[in-house]
Subunit: 352 residues, 2 copies
């Protein structure tokens, strides 16, 4: 099979971890007789530096022509504390999401038995956690009208949702629940927000189409609590963009395996796969970042974008082997030897 | 001293826990020779049932005439899953906040050494946690324009902030930081939202007036993570209304002492004191709810609304004594005898 993959390394540790995912993917391709055509594009602060724009048209063309996008991370501290900066790396991320129509961000949170003691939560709280948050990614307050009035002394942001946007996301959620334990939780703030009431009403209307799925409705503040208290009580959660931003990040730290969590963004034009850990600028260029989340994102890509399940499973099993044998970067090595990012990548590729 | 206090018991377990706070407050007043004049008002579902409106004008008059408001909880499950209900108990809460100008919600999260093992977090993560989240309470998306368009198929909510609103809240935050460890964290989403950029810019401008305070700026998604990972790294956090809703609830469960956490809402016309635990309808009428958060809210009221620090300290010390001696409700009793809500209240009042 011929796999056309756009490769966006991005900022910070992005290039380093992407390199390892490429090594592993190439090894898998070789083994299964696939041909991968990688086409690289620039994004983020790196792209601002080169062409003054964080998601250049040339990069967009590359993504549109690809069957899938493998993505590193975007973001640079240079821009973080400057509220007046007019071009920000994150704008690239948002533009990319919008132009590629990446409407659903799929964020699994699960545990690795060998890493469970890294969790800030007590073992009995986190054990057995296996949940997915489906975050709407191209609507809501991220993309509504915003601005200033009154000589800059008043600011506003608008959150908007259409019924069709909610249906599109919720349908994925129902379908995903059907392949799992058939429980779906709709997270909103329907006691305050009109958009949340539209969400709740729309999901309620869809219940009849999925009679086997048990749906619960919870307020975002209550979910923020229960994710810490009893994360293993959740299965599939669906929510709007901003709530999803907060809750997926909260969920990511409870497993103790943040450096290992992959994600997918399902789109109209293509799908994108990326580690959730971000650009982690403090570690950039040091060859110490954990590449496993990116490698597992590549596994998700093989399975979800190309239907290559066996290939994906092979990657996952090699990752598990590296964990079992302690071939890990310093974030996971404890008192044992810490391997470099590139060493872990080489080991994985060799073991494919 | 004459203390004019409005008493709003509200819904669910509200009336039961409020009763205990009244007993304890009366005992304190007797001991210190104060006269408390309690004036009760109806709110929430209880008020909807009686007069069709969750924050009736009569109740508002009572609050306006009082020096402080002691509040139970609002909310009833009857309204939760009905997106089309036109009168909701929570509207009463929002109307009350707005009409009383309760612009700052003060939410401490601290630990009780004897309860630390109730925390879902590991001991080393939670130990030493003592933080305060200052949540803006009368602005933002809670009070912006909202509605439907397009035959009800599009919904919108608007988030608005003015510089003056941010300054008012941030000033409290800086002042509070000055009385503590002089660290202030401004929580926003300035990489996306214009209102957040106004927040960040305004707080940055205020830094020069409080040169001793070290200010950090963090994104709400990052804070949602760090609150679970290293809550003891925070001191005072300031944030806008919706972020505050989510983060204060998340923070409330990490201590393992949610049933004990008091809160204050500082207002233009008066101040309001309430437990953070909500109306907890499942327990209503059973005389099993933990009254300590409400009793500790009364302590906050003595100190913050009336400057009666000694009285507040006495209440706190009696609460600590009840914990040490195991005079606690079933949520805290473990394998030991569980006391009724009213028994705990009686014990506290007798020990004043
Ligand atoms: C960088 C930022 C704009 C982005 C978001 O808020 O969506 C990030 O936090 C994420 O979750 O991918
Ligand atoms: C009931 C609801 C409107 C309210 C809020 O969101 O402010 C509650 O969650 C709170 O935090 O007091």
């Amino acid at each position: 099979m011929k796999l056309n993959i756009a490769l966006l390394a991005g900022d910070g540790i992005g290039p380093e971890v992407i390199d390892q995912a490429v090594k592993v993917s190439n090894a898998v391709a070789k083994k299964f007789n696939h041909e991968i055509i990688w086409t690289s594009g620039i994004t983020g602060a790196a792209a601002i530096d080169e062409v003054g724009e964080p998601y250049p048209d040339a990069t967009h063309e590359i993504c549109m022509a690809a069957d899938a996008v493998l993505f590193g991370a975007i973001g640079h501290p240079r821009y973080d504390n400057d509220p007046k900066a007019t071009v920000r790396p994150e704008q690239g991320l948002l533009k990319m999401r919008q132009k590629l129509g990446l409407f659903a961000n799929v964020r699994p949170t699960f545990t690795f038995p060998s890493l469970i003691d890294n969790s800030p939560l007590k073992r009995e709280r986190i054990e057995g956690t296996d949940l997915i948050i489906l975050r709407e990614l191209t609507g809501g307050i991220y993309f509504g009208e915003r601005g200033r009035k009154d000589d800059g002394n008043t600011a506003f942001d608008t959150c908007t949702y259409t019924r069709a946007e909610v249906q599109r996301l919720a349908k994925l959620g129902f379908e995903m629940a059907m392949t799992r334990s058939k429980r779906l939780c709709c997270v909103d703030k329907a006691n305050v927000l009109e958009t949340s009431r539209l969400w709740r009403e729309t999901v309620q209307d869809m219940e009849k189409d999925f009679p086997e799925v048990t749906v619960s409705y919870e307020f975002v503040d209550a979910v923020a609590m229960r994710l810490v208290q009893w994360p293993n009580s959740y299965d599939v959660l669906i929510t709007e963009n901003l709530f999803g931003d907060i809750l997926t990040d909260e969920a990511s730290v409870i497993s103790g395996s943040m450096g290992l969590m992959p994600s997918a963004s399902i789109g109209i034009h293509t799908s994108l796969f990326e580690p959730i850990h971000g650009s982690y600028p403090q570690a950039a260029g040091k060859d110490i970042a954990n590449p496993l989340a990116t490698v597992l994102s590549a596994a998700m890509m093989f399975e979800d974008a190309f239907g290559l399940k066996e290939e994906a499973e092979l990657i996952r099993s090699v990752v598990n082997k590296s964990l079992a044998e302690g071939i890990v970067t310093e974030d996971l090595s404890g008192k044992n030897k810490a391997y470099k990012t590139s060493e872990v990548g080489d080991w994985l590729a060799n073991n494919i």
